[in-house]
């Protein structure tokens, strides 16, 4: 009854590359992500591997589903979640996951609070992630070596089992800081052997962060004037030396506060009607008012010194 499909004799990889939509995802990756050259390189390699692997499967040369679980390591704010989202899209286009959605979880979503709570909780999450990508942020929190009776171990065991048995159904991506992830993998060798792709996310350079700032503002129909751009560049250089620096996330927070100050400035100084340009320009004083310039972080300031603008 079923028509027997003949295995193809040749494959046109370039055509396959375009028609599968992989090219589109990679172009999007290049366009939307600033910097991260090694990450893009690794993703391009992975995509090539998967494309070739799929062609081999079509010709009957390979049967096994390749292991696709990944680990993303890097400092906060280096774009791990964003890349995971694109990875889900990529794997979906290539047909390695059926639905291509991303489920983001942390320890709290997997580990329960009392005996017998962890397994159902972890299974619940896994069921939701079926057919897509499960992104475990700060995965090393699952394992607490100082507490033998920590329920994290139970979640790890279930995860390992599913990562092995349901390779066709979901892809697990674990993310976290490089050094702590290394320790996590050293303590759980099962994960290391089941994760094929380790991708490192480097920190952004100052120039890249400035570009990111402009792209973020552009997305919200704001813009920096030349003085504002100069202030932003100095801000980034200064902010990097201070504690709790989180790359692109710090920049986004700084911009949110700058918008707040800009609104305040317009409100207090405007005398006549304002045009769209005035409403959407972030300038020098909006950024320079930040406490980063006076040598301290906003969050680290004692409450009694809340007198500065």
């Amino acid at each position: 009854m079923d028509a027997v499909t003949e295995a193809p004799k040749t494959v046109d990889l370039a055509a396959e590359y375009e028609s599968s939509g992989v090219a589109e995802v990679l172009r999007e990756l290049d366009r939307d992500l600033i910097g991260l050259a090694p990450v893009k390189q690794r993703i391009r390699q992975t995509a090539a591997l998967l494309l070739v692997d799929r062609a081999r499967r079509d010709m009957g040369l390979a049967q096994e589903t390749p292991t696709l679980h990944m680990s993303f390591t890097g400092n906060p704010g280096t774009g791990k979640t964003t890349v995971a989202l694109m990875m889900a899209g990529l794997l979906h286009r290539l047909g390695y996951v059926r639905k291509g959605h991303l489920v983001t979880v942390t320890r709290d979503d997997l580990v329960g609070q009392y005996i017998g709570h962890t397994a159902p909780k972890t299974k619940e999450v896994l069921k939701k992630a079926m057919g897509g990508v499960l992104f475990i942020d700060e995965a090393y929190y699952l394992y607490k070596p100082d507490n033998e009776r920590d329920y994290g171990q139970e979640a790890i065991e279930i995860l390992l089992q599913v990562m092995e048995n349901n390779r066709d159904d979901l892809v697990v991506i674990m993310a976290g800081y490089a050094d702590r992830m290394d320790r996590f993998f050293a303590a759980n060798p099962g994960f290391r052997s089941r994760i094929a792709h380790h991708i490192e996310f480097p920190d952004y350079t100052d120039a890249e962060l400035l570009k990111i700032a402009e792209a973020m503002l552009d997305g919200q129909n704001y813009g920096l004037d030349p003085a504002g751009r100069k202030a932003m560049a100095e801000y980034i250089a200064l902010r990097r030396t201070q504690p709790h620096f989180a790359n692109a996330r710090s920049v986004r927070n700084a911009l949110d506060r700058a918008r707040l100050r800009q609104a305040n400035r317009l409100f207090e100084t405007a005398t006549g009607p304002l045009d769209a340009r005035a409403l959407s320009t972030i300038t020098d004083p909006d950024i320079r008012a930040s406490r980063v310039f006076s040598g301290g972080l906003d969050v680290d300031r004692p409450a009694s010194r809340e007198d500065q603008p």
């Binding site: 059926r98 639905k99 069921k127 079926m130 159904d169």
Partner: protein
């Protein structure tokens, strides 16, 4: 005697691929799937035992199939059905329900007639193995 309740019950038993396809259809309509089982298939037994909570916000049928497999391992000799619940305002009810597991030997139904006052008669059904 073959129990005929819910959708597809006059058809041969659904295979796992067919069940998966039906579940995909339900999920495509944003219905939540619940797994239920019973050892008492009497038509009047409307409320079956729930196997876990109904599964809201699933994206793929595999999640349901995992639960179904677990339910089959635990209650292989029971009737198991999948209920698809539609939470859309105005429906808020089960839109689809079908049996996915049956015991090897299904019970027969026996009709019992009893005399009642003044020559009237009463009938009752019961399942007999």
């Amino acid at each position: 005697m073959r129990i005929t309740q819910g959708c597809f019950s006059f058809l041969p038993d659904l295979t796992d691929e067919q069940i998966t396809a039906q579940v995909e259809y339900c999920l495509g309509n944003d219905w939540a799937i619940g797994v239920e089982y019973t050892y008492d298939p009497h038509p009047r037994n409307t409320y079956w035992e729930m196997w876990g909570n109904p599964m809201f916000d699933l994206r793929d049928a595999k999640g349901v199939m995992m639960e179904l497999d677990e339910c089959r391992t635990a209650h292989g000799g029971a009737y198991i059905r999948l209920n698809a619940f539609d939470s859309t305002r105005g429906f808020e009810t089960v839109r689809m329900s079908f049996i996915v597991n049956r015991p090897k030997v299904e019970p027969t139904f026996h009709i019992q007639r009893t005399d009642f006052e003044s020559r009237s008669q009463k009938y009752a059904w019961d399942a007999r193995y």
